[in-house]
Symmetry: C2
Subunit: 220 residues, 2 copies
């Protein structure tokens, strides 16, 4: 028989997944906006931000209420702490989507296809990291969570390559300078999304395995 | 009479302040390294990272043990949750110091003084935000914490100005392109440090006032 407490934990998990849907939608929108130049999609991201912020507060409150009233132990305590952390990371992913949306509004969508950086690939990789991290949360799957950590290395490599390529391109085509700087900032925003996905994956491992894997040898 | 529980809370606070000292030291080192071109200071930052990561784990464990064994309520519960969050933000400030250190090692310290961006000012402002946020934590001072939130607007403005100025400078002096791109990335790293200081300040307000001020009207 399931206790009321475990029903409350399920409710907390469901709320976090609603939050995750909002954030994933924001990432999808900015990737589409960059790809097809439809800046109305950016407006949609900006308009969606208050709902994400509101959900963050509600989830935190729910988690705190559970901590205060139920005095959970061991894996349940780790679960609630993980939800609090994941919640904060999701909200910051939403912030990055807003930053990208604002940046896309600044750039000429005619020019940016000429830039030496594959934003579409970087976007889809960062987005895949977030999805996989959340799937590992849904399934309580530490192995899947570990696989997110290695994806982050690929994001870092794309960013390092983009830095060099954009620098060279500016040298050859100075008229692309502002476009290239905007693209560079967008790559850093996607990198931050990847960083948050990594944090989420680490929280899942902490919850499921009771091990704190941050900064240990398994990442390399 | 102070209880053992409250002594444990003090111990948790003291540990977080040791962590904070390590992180503040890392910020000071990269600001000095950028200013005087002494790249051995960057090495010191890189070598200091494992100690910061280790402390993060220890503080988290201490906080979790307190949650599990003491079942704290109300302000004590909020204090422990705030410590867990602040701890994560401090570790990420440390990560940014490492990123800046790596970036400084890439640039020519002869050229960068010609760049149209006041990294020293940005560094000292970000650093002041972290210090003030931590002071508000030490003093449980929500008013001081609120003042950190307004400092973030100034950091954002300096960054926006740097973006435009560096873009223009690249147009005029293409030979400075890679230097300028490195400087641009460094400004974003300092911006992230300011973001983390803001998070810390919000956690202090949450702890002291029991109000969740994130994303509310008081920020504008």
């Amino acid at each position: 028989m399931r206790t009321k407490f475990h029903k409350n934990l399920d409710e907390l998990k469901q709320q976090l997944l609603v939050m995750a849907d909002l954030v994933e939608r924001a990432i999808d929108l900015v990737i589409a906006a960059y790809g097809n130049g439809d800046k109305t999609l950016c407006e949609e991201v900006l308009q969606g931000e208050p709902a994400i912020n509101r959900m963050e507060r509600e989830i935190d409150q729910l988690a705190l209420d559970l901590l205060a009233t139920e005095q959970p132990m061991a894996i349940d305590l780790r679960f609630i702490i993980s939800v609090i952390r994941i919640n904060a990371d999701l909200e910051r992913v939403g912030d990055q989507a807003v930053n990208i949306a604002n940046r896309i509004r600044e750039i000429s969508t005619k020019e940016h296809h000429r830039l030496e950086v594959d934003i579409a690939k970087l976007g889809s990789l960062s987005s895949a990291m977030v999805r996989r991290a959340l799937q590992s949360f849904i399934d309580a799957d530490a192995v899947l969570a570990y696989s997110v950590l290695t994806m982050d290395d690929e994001v870092d490599q794309i960013n390092a390559d983009a830095f060099t390529a954009l620098g060279a391109q500016i040298g050859d085509h100075p008229q692309l300078t502002m476009q290239a700087l905007n693209a560079l900032i967008i790559t850093r925003n996607f990198e931050r999304i990847g960083d948050h996905a990594t944090n989420i994956a680490e929280d899942v491992i902490f919850w499921v395995q009771g091990a704190d894997v941050r900064h240990n040898m398994l990442r390399t």
